[in-house]
Symmetry: C2
Subunit: 336 residues, 2 copies
Amino acid sequence: MPTIKDVARAANCSTATVSRALASPEKVSDATRHRVAQAVAKVGYSLNAAARNLRRSESRTIVVILPNIANPFFSDVISGLESVAHQAGYQVLLGDAGNNPDRVASYFNLVPSNQADGIILLSTEVPMALVRERQADAGFPLVMACEYFDNLSLPTIHIDNEQAAHKATEYLVALGHQRIATITGPARNPICKDRLRGYRHGLADAGLNIQDDWIVEGDFTFHSGYEQGRILLQQDKKRPTAIFCQNDEMAIGVLKAARDAGVVVPEQLSVIGFDDIGFSQYCEPELTTVHQPREAIGRTAMRLLLDILKQRNVPLDQSLKTQLIVRSSTARAPRD
Amino acid sequence: MPTIKDVARAANCSTATVSRALASPEKVSDATRHRVAQAVAKVGYSLNAAARNLRRSESRTIVVILPNIANPFFSDVISGLESVAHQAGYQVLLGDAGNNPDRVASYFNLVPSNQADGIILLSTEVPMALVRERQADAGFPLVMACEYFDNLSLPTIHIDNEQAAHKATEYLVALGHQRIATITGPARNPICKDRLRGYRHGLADAGLNIQDDWIVEGDFTFHSGYEQGRILLQQDKKRPTAIFCQNDEMAIGVLKAARDAGVVVPEQLSVIGFDDIGFSQYCEPELTTVHQPREAIGRTAMRLLLDILKQRNVPLDQSLKTQLIVRSSTARAPRD
DNA sequence: TTTTTGTTTGTAATCGATTACATTTAAGCA
DNA sequence: TGCTTAAATGTAATCGATTACAAACAAAAA
């Protein structure tokens, strides 16, 4: 591989001049700039990033840690993250945490080892000790998005999960539903708690009483939605007329459970999801759901991290708006 | 940040010894190894990867270029790629090409600039000139998976698209269908041509004649499947009784088009997809489709690239098996 | 012409780890 | 004990780019 020395030789100048011609052209005469450009082309030079990174002690790489690349929710968030990063000349390294603490640890290590300049965390399913340790030294550039830790304060981009769930529940109540169940995500997850709280308040506001066996826990997969939906629908007593699911995949699982149980959506059962993933428009019936501004979340999170890296003073906590999208999986409650 | 020098000082030895204690412990006495380990812990040392990469001129990073992270097809492929990479101590940098030639160029540049050791290409939608140029110098570690260029030979992991499409079509024929349409992916894409060829042969084998206006082109999205499906179903003459779609998302789009047109699947229309993505079990009806071993494709591709990097002698072209998964979107052809 | 000021370029130290080679130390053996 | 061999450690060059500082040069002002 040709190095900056080869270019310097070909352009008949010093390496310092080559470096300047490439990095800060205004510091160099027109003639030299030209000669260097030609020399670069001639020898086929390309800059050795490791050398630059070593010298500058930065890597222009941001690590994004997410629970699972396969989750369609994250793809738009990632698009947003990437677009901002690229504009600012940064790379994005996607790290699938995949329930593997060692892996997460190794991603965190990329920062002290100068392979990454900062981290964006999209999941709370990571070893708490690690995060706590990093958050302790204030210099560690770490931003959360989508989720958050309820016992640890980090710069965060999020939505108002409680409010969104509250509104979704209110909507069901407004349709006349009185027996409203919910399928949550993993109970230890703070955003799931928030959504659950929103659901409870929605019921309480309407003076409906909350039945504990209508609050069931899933894990955000199709399958868990299907299973929990099946269980909810086969209860002996009067079954719920509406189910609020904490994400779309589980809601789509419920749709299938309803079909299998011969329960017609939305006539006999209303279903609401959360996230508004692409598939929610193509399932049968189309899913009423809470839309999240995923791309904007990604963009904002990356901007926040870059601002922190540049030591700019910025609000460390931003909330973005959600919107209830009404489609055809919800309807007026059936008469008893 | 503490460096190797700080460790050396704390362990009362030279930097060379520290380096050896960490990288090749067998070259160092037990006592020293111990001292070094303690010193590392004490000063909180972590290796500067840029320095190591510079010295070793490698980066232990593999770039994976894909057309679109949002495409659920790729998530399992990526899982496979990552698992093998991590085992071998490599990082995976995911690059979303996103119809942006500049971006792709910048990903390709990571190799000469020592930020990446090799590239896995999952898309043919990249500037041909770039690929051709790289492929020209034989040293450039570049592997294709899932797709391929028909005018350029590169190490490749793939499936037999023609055969898979042939079998899918045969299956429809065996169910008694005589009017079988197809929705292809982008026509310039070699794998789409292969699948189309398989379809044609399937019809030809059965002595069915091929109707050109039953071969329509989509772009692998839900939406294009919906649109093309709608058009196919509203044709004046007798409409097709089966549609073979070149991926699942388009097939799911067709399912929706059929619902909207009041055509019952599978009684009046059979639909087959391709890929077997997660959704295909949760749509209504469940989708008959061609299963691809996505995770295995990823694993095999990464292994191939790592073998190439290690200069091991390996077959540069491997084909993996597909399987037709019959679910409920296909049935015997309706009587005329 | 001389001095001042500003522009352009070069010299050489530096970033942090690795490793060839040299040196020291220890172990084995007669 | 003295000699050979092996193991352990140290010295210092190296990877390639950046940049503080110095030097050279040109243009402007006196």
